[in-house]
């Protein structure tokens, strides 16, 4: 056997050599890269799928808030059309996939055919003043997107038979406007240039024009009875036309002595320049005439007629600015206050704790109210609100920093630093403070959704008024919609959706950060 052979062998000393002669021995250099606290936190944060998703969504919302105001032309930012306010989302490119500005309503025969009549009127030509309903349905200006007979005949009164989706932009129909003499030719030229019809004949005021006193006067171009049902004249007497797809309206346009349609009426002013004329325009094309664009509002329009997408983006921007400002100011004050409290302890701590006890005891809504009542006049709502948030908001941060300082200040490494002659400042900020950063960052992030929420709530309640044509916050949008949202749900849905999304995402993001910064959880998720 080999082993016995080996045992018998005698090995001479000189055959031994030192393995590590003339070599200095060191620890091996770490082959893997060292990972610091933040890198480690980031590493663990990345593995939390929900938080990463939330972060991406926050990124998108941020991008939305920053990019939309830049991409929106100035002309649209300030564009506020009184007739196109509170409308739903509409886009000519995406018209067929549902962005048709429509609202579903239950309509009676009278109201349904009233909508059809707008399409007929829009297709007016001097040769054929009244087209059939079938032809009007093909018209681009016909507001009824779709309709169907209600199967549930018990619904309300028997007259409300249809449920119809009506394009609210086209439903504005015709409007009377007052223009100067010189404008008339400009409009005619515009019509020719764009091959669109803008000016339509005026409507006669006679025994058959009952709609003339209403706001929709310009839409009642057909002869009606006192109940606004269309009529035809049979032997000098009005007879209601039965509602059907084949019905033919009898027009009530204003004609001059030679039976020509009248397009304008002189309403005042003497000279050529100052003379005012009343004309009847198709509002949809009039909009294109004045603003040079079709009414494309991806998110609809707000209660005043501004573009909702733009208002929403600026609202998100303002709410986030407030939230981030509050969060960072609280971060600084809270860190300083808590560090001093926690590090020095004793009487300093006792006094400072009492002060923060008192401040935190004042109900927040009272703080905001007092700041608004006392300061909003002098410094504006925005600064007033910011000050109110800062006045008591830092206390939570301070107490968590204080607790961390208590935990670390008597540890050996701090004692070592002190023995080596480090100043209080150095120990506080260089040795203890970095340990508190994790919790501090987490709580600062979680402040953001809190501020967004309370801002929106306070605006909704009317305690703060950040509104204005140039500044909007998410809460202002909500409070604008508060009294009318049941008729115009889109005014409320968009801001409420964005706020909810922001709250959910920031909470998830904050929770992810909290777990990532907590070294005790390291490895637990594997």
């Amino acid at each position: 056997m080999k082993s016995t052979n080996l045992n018998n062998k005698i090995v001479n000393d000189e055959r031994f050599t030192l393995a590590h002669d003339n070599v200095e021995l060191h620890d091996h250099k770490l082959e893997t890269k060292a990972r610091g606290y933040f890198a480690d936190a980031f590493f663990r944060f990345r593995r939390n799928k929900a938080s990463v998703t939330a972060t991406v969504i926050i990124g998108f919302i941020l991008l939305f808030a920053l990019v939309v105001p830049i991409l929106t032309p100035n002309s649209v930012q300030t564009l506020m059309d009184p007739y196109y306010s509170k409308k739903g989302p509409r886009d000519t490119m995406l018209y067929d996939v549902g962005l048709n500005g429509s609202q579903t309503k239950t309509l009676s025969d009278r109201m349904l055919y009233y909508e059809f009549a707008k399409g007929i009127a829009a297709e007016f030509t001097e040769e054929e003043p009244v087209v059939s309903i079938q032809k009007s349905k093909e018209s681009k200006y016909q507001p009824v997107v779709r309709y169907n007979l209600n199967s549930n005949t018990n619904y309300g009164s028997s007259t409300a038979r249809y449920s119809a989706a009506v394009d609210q932009y086209l439903a504005v129909g015709f409007k009377y406007i007052s223009i100067e003499q010189s404008k008339f030719q400009v409009m005619r030229d515009w019509e020719e240039e764009h091959n669109l019809k803008l000016l339509y004949p005026l409507i006669a005021v006679n025994d058959y024009s009952f709609g003339v006193d209403t706001a929709d006067a310009a839409n009642y171009w057909y002869k009606t009875n006192s109940r606004n049902d269309p009529v035809k004249i049979v032997e000098g007497n009005p007879v209601a036309i039965p509602y059907s797809q084949d019905m033919v309206f009898e027009d009530n346009y204003l004609r001059d002595g030679e039976n020509n349609f009248v397009y304008r009426i002189h309403t005042g002013g003497g000279s050529y320049e100052t003379a005012q004329f009343k004309v009847r325009v198709l509002y949809y094309n009039y909009y294109r005439y004045i603003y040079g664009r079709e009414p494309n509002y991806l998110f609809g329009t707000d209660s005043q007629g501004y573009s909702m997408i733009y208002r929403l983006a600026t609202g998100v921007r303002l709410s986030l600015i407030i939230a981030v400002l509050v969060s960072s100011i609280n971060f600084i004050i809270g860190a300083l206050y808590g560090a001093i409290e926690g590090y020095y302890g004793g009487a300093t701590d006792l006094v400072m704790e009492r002060i923060s006890d008192i401040l935190v005891g004042i109900p927040f809504v009272v703080v905001v109210t007092l700041f608004q009542l006392h300061m909003a006049q002098k410094v504006g709502s925005f600064v007033g609100l910011l000050l109110a948030y800062v006045a008591t908001g830092w206390i939570g941060t301070a107490s968590s920093v204080r607790a961390q300082f208590y935990r670390y200040k008597n540890q050996e490494y701090v004692l070592a630093a002190r023995t080596l002659g480090a100043s209080n400042q150095r120990i506080m900020w260089k040795h203890i403070f970095p340990n508190t950063l994790g919790t501090l960052i987490t709580s600062s992030v979680l402040v953001i959704p809190g501020v967004i929420f309370s801002e929106s709530m306070l605006s909704y309640l009317g305690i703060i008024k950040l509104g204005g044509s140039s500044t909007t916050s998410l809460g202002t949008l909500l409070s604008d919609a508060s009294s009318i949202w049941t008729s115009y749900p889109s005014l409320l849905i968009f801001p409420a959706l964005v706020i909810s999304l922001l709250m959910i995402c920031f909470n998830l993001f904050g929770n992810g950060l909290r777990d990532a910064f907590n070294p005790q959880l390291r490895g637990s998720e594997d």
Binding site: L373, M503, F506
Partner: protein, 320 residues
């Protein structure tokens, strides 16, 4: 224990006193508006003169405190309900607030705790993941969004409830406890409950998962208890230690109510009164509301801390 409670109470009174003082001066410093009706203005002016509203602020403060201590008089309403004592104006409005919030709490507590227990027992199964995901969403979404949501769908679309706002006392038959009144409270109670349930579920789940993995659970199982027995007798009991004080503070919190829910559902409660008082600048009411909210907040805090000491024998209060 007694010493600790006394110390906390002392601090509470001190804090409360300071806050009342600060609020008093800040509120009295606000400009006063007289009604446009000259007769009324003259009457109010005369009353103010008699009540010492035109004295220097410090003396006013002295009068204010004296009235509270001697007559329990917190001032008078000058705008909302002319010359009615402020305390009376407020006490009329406590009941609606309490009812709505109490209903919400009575629904939320059992549902929330049950869901939390279920999620904790089923930890890391699809049921748990589902509950946890829904909870994250429901905790984050603001209560007013639920309010709009239930109003829109349950009233405007489906008409499952008879009204979208709270009935007035007269409409509901003169009492807050009629069936008709209850039917009008379903929506606000729902709007309040969603967030409350989600919060409780999350809290219960977190506490229970922690106790379920404790060593004493292992011991209990080794002794021969079934999983169910061990959970009910040991884990649940211990998980309740932090949950119970939270519930107590919720019960105190129902007094202050929710400003926004009261606004949306037209509930004639405390929150609505607060908004009235600041919109109409009825300062005595505003002051009383401030005092009230402060006291509720402080009390909730101290009761939570003290209740820990009673519930959990491991916690020895005031001992270093």
């Amino acid at each position: 224990m007694g010493k600790y409670i006394l110390k906390r109470l002392g601090l509470l009174i001190f804090t409360f006193f300071v806050i009342v003082t600060i609020s008093f001066f800040l509120i009295r410093l606000l400009p006063q508006e007289m009604p446009t009706d000259l007769n009324l203005a003259a009457v109010i002016k005369a009353r103010w003169e008699a009540l010492g509203y035109n004295e220097p602020l410090l003396i006013q403060y002295g009068i204010y405190l004296r009235n509270i201590f001697t007559k329990f008089d917190f001032g008078t309403s000058w705008k909302i309900s002319l010359t009615t004592p402020a305390l009376e104006v407020m006490s009329d409005r406590i009941l609606p607030t309490v009812i709505v919030n109490l209903y919400a709490l009575l629904i939320s507590i059992p549902v929330g705790i049950a869901l939390g227990i279920y999620a904790a027992i089923k930890k890391n199964t699809w049921q748990d993941h589902f509950i946890s995901t829904v909870v994250i969403i429901f905790v984050s979404v603001p209560s007013y969004v639920y309010a709009f949501f239930v109003q829109y769908f349950l009233y405007f679309k489906l008409r499952w409830v008879p009204t979208n706002v709270m009935y007035s006392l007269a409409d509901a038959g003169g009492s807050y406890f009629t069936l008709k009144m209850f039917s009008s409270l379903i929506l606000p109670v729902m709007a309040l409950s969603f967030g409350e349930i989600a919060g409780l579920t999350r809290f219960t789940r977190a506490e229970l998962t922690e106790t379920l993995t404790s060593d004493y659970m292992l011991l209990a199982r080794t002794k021969g208890l079934t999983r169910g027995q061990a959970t009910v007798r040991h884990a649940l009991k211990n998980a309740m230690v932090p949950i119970f004080p939270m519930l107590i503070s919720s019960f105190i919190g129902i007094l202050s109510g929710s400003l926004i829910i009261e606004q949306i559902f037209s509930i004639p409660g405390i929150g609505a009164l607060y908004l009235f008082s600041i919109n109409q600048l009825d300062y005595d009411i505003f002051m009383l509301m401030t005092v009230f909210y402060t006291l509720i907040g402080l009390l909730a805090g101290i009761v939570v801390d003290i209740s820990y000491g009673f519930i959990d024998p491991r916690i020895k209060m005031g001992k270093k």
